[in-house]
Structure formats: C-alpha cells, structure tokens
Symmetry: C2
Subunit: 437 residues, 2 copies
C-alpha cells in the first residue's frame, strides 16, 4: 500500500486546535495502524489572529498565517478544519473549502444550526462532505451513532444533557447551595466556563446541538427561531432544594421526540429529572444522550462533552473519515434535507407534568383558590406542598408548590395567567417541567 499524505489546514489554534495538533503528534503512528492504511494526516497551515502569541511547543511557528483565503486555497491543503467559532468568517471558510472540493471538519454547532441549510446545500452541490462529530458532545460519537449506527431505526426520542458548563453550575448550586452567580464564577475560575459564558448559560449552545441532532434524525431544516429555549440563569437555589425534597434533580435537558402525527417536539430547558433516572447521575462537565429507536430500544451514551482532548479526539476521527472520503471519492452521507418536510410541534402543544411554585400570602383559602382555577382548566393536581424555606421559615409570604399532572403547556399558561390575578399570589409563578423519560 502506498503512503498518501493529506495536508490539513487548521483554522483556529485555541484549545481544541492545539489539542488536534498534539493528538496527531502523540498518536499519529497509531492512527495509521488502526485505520489499516498508510494514510498520513499532516497539519500544513494554521490560521491564527495573532502571530506573536505564545503557543504549545508542538505548534510550528512557520505554519502560522493570518490570511484565511491563502490557507483554504493552498493546493497543499486537502482538508480544512474550522475551529474559529462564530457564524461569519467561519461560514466564509467552510463555504470556500466546499466550493474547492475540500472536505471540512468542524466543531462549530452555531454555524451549522444557524446556517447549515446553506452549507449542506453547498456540500451536496460540490459532493464534498462536512464532518461535525466535534460539534455535539466531543467525547460521545453521537453524530456517528444517529447517522450511521442507528440508520435502520425510526428515532422515537432523544433526551440529553449536552452542555457541560451549565451541568456543572447546576450541580454546584445543588450540592454546595450556591446561587447562580457564585457557581458561574467558580466554573469560570476552574476553566469550565468561558470568559463570555452567555451561550452556555442561556441554553443556546445546547439548543444548537439539539437542532443538529433533530435534523439528523428527522431530516428537515429547523430554524433556531422556531424552538423553545430556556437557560439556567433564572434557576434559584430554592427550587433546586424543593426538587431534592421531592425526589428530583434539576438538569438542563434537551428533549427531542417524534409524535404519532410526525410532528417533532424539540425543547431545551432546566427540567426536573427523577433521582433514580440515569441522567440524574450525570455530573460535572459530563454529557449524556439517551436515544430511543424503534429497533434498538433504549440506549444511552455518556462521556466528556467538551475540553481540549475529547473534542480533538472527535476532530481526529473526522479527519480520518475525510481522508477516506478523498481517497475513495465518497459522497457526503446525506444530512439535510433528506426527504420529507417536517413540522415542529408548537411549544403550547407539548405536554409534561409540572412543578409550579407560587409566592403566596400565608392565609387560609389559598390552596382552594389556586386549585379552583386549575380545575376550571381541567388540569389535575398530583400534590401540593408548602416546603420549609430554610432561609425564611416564619415569613408571612410563603412558597406553595403544586405538582401538576401532564397537560399541554399552552393550557398551563392560560391557567397561570388567571392565577396571577388572584390577590393571594404575589409574583409570577416559577414553572419547571417534570420529565417522564
């Protein structure tokens, strides 16, 4: 077998980019052996913003450039790795590479979720694949699993914890009774949250990943503007405490589910998960995705979601696939759209059980008044609790928690609007979904 070398243009040399260089350096020979070919993957150019920044010793200064177009166009570059993030320059780089017939490897979930329709159309026209395992849960090959291993399945549901930063913050809020701001600060000081943690804590990092998973499973483009996303910024220690007392854990959960009429439910929010469910045990910066297919039944995949080495591992696997696709003129595996036009279920029509906490005046009749409005809307109550708030045990205003049977979210919203007008209710209620997984 003759040795073929594939030149790699690496756009971006931050944590993950450096990880890719180090992984190829450390395991290059092993990768050749394990791929059963003499394939050599060699980083030939590296796009950076600042040529003078100090870098890891494996990053050869001679390869650095600040000119993205010369990198992509360089005839020595066969595969382009995009790791700069964002949806502007990253788009230009990916689009240009596809136009030149150079396979792309990217970990950019925002780019694919926001502008994937355009890019996958280019991929199809130029018969050049985009590989993006690194975009969702780096240490878990969930893209490959859904797209290849479960190709014979109708995917019934996927539920997961796919943002390690917010999972870490929620865990610390729970175990150390920290408030959100303090837990976030801690995560930043440990390097688990970036200097700008906006997309992690507002849910959009996870939402972008969920869009990719749903598009893979159901084959129609989903616009970020259509989906329901709630982050963890508004989660209060008091609700985490109450959740614990009731046998639940609060997790930022992506829920994707196919309904009988082919409508797809897709939502992202902090949810109550039963302590006994395996997802409740996913701690720290780990990710997990549960997949239910009509053939495989229940399955679950667990691993590190981010970080230098796990994400680099996904990029390297995609580089091997990209080289294989060049060697054998493989087409892309089909991403979107692959057939049917799909329909998202409006959030008002999605049903779960709920935890609703009201801040009420502590007087007789409160439960009856709230329960009456719920009854008028035909929403069942599975329990009411007035948990002890350890910070304020003797207050005149108390927390009253209602646990509600499953009903459409829109119906709950209507009932809550009416309840808000009761004079015993002092502020907007706090709502968490209770997931049946």
């Amino acid at each position: 077998m003759s040795s073929t070398s594939y030149g790699i243009g690496l756009a971006g040399c931050g944590t993950v980019g450096t990880g890719v260089i180090r992984a190829l350096h450390r395991n290059g020979a092993l990768i050749q052996q394990r791929s059963g070919s003499e394939m050599q993957l060699e980083v030939k150019r590296i796009l950076v913003r600042d040529l003078d920044k100090s870098r890891h010793e494996t990053v050869a200064p001679a390869l650095l450039t600040t000119d993205w177009q010369s990198l992509v166009d360089d005839p020595e570059i066969a595969i382009v790795v995009e790791l700069i993030g964002g949806t502007g320059l990253a788009y230009d780089i990916v689009a240009r590479a596809l136009t030149l017939g150079k396979p792309v490897v990217t970990g950019n979930k925002a780019l694919l979720a926001e502008r994937g329709t355009e890019l996958f159309a280019l991929s199809k026209i130029h018969n050049t694949p985009i590989h993006f395992e690194a975009a969702v849960a780096g240490g878990i090959p969930i893209i490959k699993t859904v797209q290849e291993a479960f190709i014979g399945n109708r995917i019934k549901a996927m539920c997961g914890i796919i943002n390690g930063t917010s999972n870490y913050i929620l865990q610390r809020m729970s175990e150390a009774r920290l408030d959100f701001a303090t837990a976030l600060q801690e995560a930043q000081s440990l390097g688990y949250a970036e200097a700008d943690p906006t997309l992690d804590v507002n849910g959009w990092d996870a939402a972008h990943k969920a869009i990719l998973l749903a598009t893979l499973a159901y084959g129609f483009p989903i616009s970020p503007t259509e989906i329901h996303v709630v982050g963890i910024e508004q989660v209060k220690p008091i609700d985490i405490d109450f959740a614990k007392q009731l046998g639940y854990v609060v997790k930022l959960l992506a829920v994707i589910r196919e309904h009988d009429d082919d409508a797809i439910e897709l939502r992202l929010q902090p949810s109550f998960v039963s302590k006994s469910h395996i997802l409740a045990s996913v701690n720290g910066v780990f990710n997990a995705v549960a997949v239910n297919g009509d053939g495989v039944g229940e399955s679950l995949f667990y691993g590190r979601g981010a970080g230098e080495d796990p994400t680099a591992s996904a990029v390297v696997a995609d580089l091997v696939e990209a080289a294989r696709s060049l060697a054998h003129e493989l087409p892309h595996r089909g991403f979107l759209p692959w057939g049917k036009q799909g329909r998202l279920l409006p959030i008002e029509e999605t049903s779960t059980a709920y935890y609703v906490r009201f801040d009420v005046t502590d007087r007789p009749g409160v439960v009856a008044e709230i329960a009456t409005v719920l009854a008028e809307h035909r929403i069942g109550i599975s329990g009411t609790h007035s948990p002890v708030n350890p910070e304020n045990p003797d207050a005149a205003f108390v927390d009253m928690v209602f646990l509600l049977h499953s009903c459409p979210f829109g119906l709950l919203q209507k009932a809550l609007q009416k309840i808000a007008h009761l004079d015993c209710v002092n502020s907007a209620p706090v709502v968490f979904r209770i997931e049946q997984l």
Copy 2:
C-alpha cells in the same frame, strides 16, 4: 441519482434473521432517505435448515433455500449476511463470500473470536470487508465507536457487561434470592436464555466479544485458549448477599486494560462492583461498556445487548456500510493484525483487590492463622467479616470473609494453597475480584 439495488443473501432465518427482514420491510424507505442515496437493500435468498417451518409473514417462501453454496454464488447476491452461528458451516459461508468479493455482515462472535485470524486474512487478500457490529452488544455501536470514533485514541481500558443473559440471572439471584438453577430456569421461560445456555453462563459468549474488542483496540490476534474466563454457574446466593452487605454488586465483567509495558490484561469473571458505580446499575438484559481513551477520557455506552430488533438494527447499519463499500470500492477498515505483536498479561500477574470467603471452624485463633499466612505472602487485609448467614445463624462452621488489598492473582493463589492446609479451613475458598473502575 440513480437507484442501485443490492441483493442480500441471508444465511439463517431465526430470531435475528427475521428481525432483519422485518426492519428492512418497515424502515426501507427511511433507510434510503437517511443514507442520502437511492440505495435499495433487498433480501433475495434465505438459507434455512427446514423449508417447511412456519415463519413470519414478511419471510417470502419463494426465497428459501437449503443450499448454502447456491446462495453465496448467486450473481444476484451482492452482500452475504451470516446469522447461522457456530464455527463450521458459518466459516465456509463467510470464506466463500470473501473469496467472491462479496462483503460479509455477521453477528457471529464465536466465529470471529475462534477463526477471525483466517477470515480477516481472506478479507485483506480479497479487499472485501467483514462487518460485525451485531457480534458485540447489538444495541450499542461499540465496534464502530472503538474502530472509527475513537481511532485517534490510545485505548487505556474497556470494562463491560456484555452478556445480558447472565446479567439477568445475577440480578434475579440478587433481588429474589434465587439460586443459580432457578434463576436460569426463569430466564429460559422468559426467552432471555436459550435452550442451551452453556456459552452464556460459562462466560464464553462474553469472552468471545471481549476478544473482538481487545483485538480492535490493540491490533493483535488473541487466542481464546490464552485468556482467563470464569462463568456464573458457581456463583452462590450467599456471596451475592455478602456483596450487598459490603456495598457491592456481583456482575459478570469483561476487563480489558493496557499496561505500561504494552502488555494487555484481558479477563472475564463475576466480579464485585461498587454499588455507586454506573455499571452496578445496568440491570436485566442490558449491556454496557465503559471505554477509557487517552483523548476522550471516560465514556460509557449502554443499551440492549441482544434480541431480535436491537441485533437486527446493527445488521441493517452494517448492510448500509457494506453497500457503501461496494458502491465506492472501499477497502476494509483494517482489523487484524494491524502492526505490533502484542502480549497478554498472564492471569497470575493481574492485580485487583479481592473478596475471599473461607468456610472455617468457629473457634478462637482462626483469623490469626489465616492472617499470618497472608502476612507471610505480604498480602494486606483491608477488613475481615463474619457475616451472618441467614440460613444458618448458629452453625459450628461459619463463613469468614477477608477483604484483601490489591495483589497479583498468582500471589493470592499461593497464599490460598497454604491456607487450604490449615485444619480450621474446611473447603476451598471462594474468591471474587473487587474491581477498581
């Protein structure tokens, strides 16, 4: 895109074979859409032993044959699926198909573990792949994960529960305090164990799978005669009870681990697993494999290990890969050997902590006598217990459990041989490894 049809020859039409026919029937259109091609997978011939047996309605009688050679040689057959099991006729079918350049899909772990070296050599000579995702944990794409997704990793360890039948039996022995024979009978009546459960309960079904995983990760052929395999037939309810009292669960565990000097540890036995470890929660007929790679770190994959639909799902995914390899003249991905000659660590050199139960005469001095022999062998004791045996609380002969610090198994064996000669010890000691996962 023009539509290409790939004729499938299905050797074997039992549970899994029928599942494959049904899955292609149910999800054929979806598979075409999801694969991004007009690929059609069509079962054209089916090898059976008995033409007259009653079969599922989707199995067309006209396709049945009892002549394996005419099936494999049929020019309409492009891909051969081997699901008959065993290492005799199955070998002939697979070898013939490879010789004809027809990709093979198989779920036959015994065949690949026992005769894989010959078959993968044929695969290489004829540049025709063998796909075998269905051979290990049908509902978990662990082959694809190790071979493709983690190709950039040095695999440090894999530990798993990869035989659902014995996992179910151990769970029932634990929760219902059944003895082995009764639990096995129950598993058979529920269809979780076959009429001949030998390979499930003696550990060899799991051992064959472990050999495949280790060979994928480390690239050298491993002979079944070289590895240490203990089944669950000798597990007693009393040890399961004592495990519980000590905070452990008994699981039939495959342990594969790379040591610093490149030697590979590979063993299969019922082991103590801490109740708090995620593998302790894998119940019923589910499988789970924990993988530790130098890039991805810790990860875990969980799903159904066997059964009609999960295994058929793996076969269908491999059929898509096989068709892809035909369409694009893809070589096999490299299985074995891919380079280095490896070395298995002799079982005597493998170290764990241990649980050892002695049947002793209940008199003063017993602990001292046993402890003295252990001290002579420099084996540390982390605790001794004389747990109450609920079946025999006032016996003159009692169970004395020693929990031992990690030491090489060979050293433990020497100490136990000496202890066996003490007159206070009445029978051969019972040993379980306590795994540090």
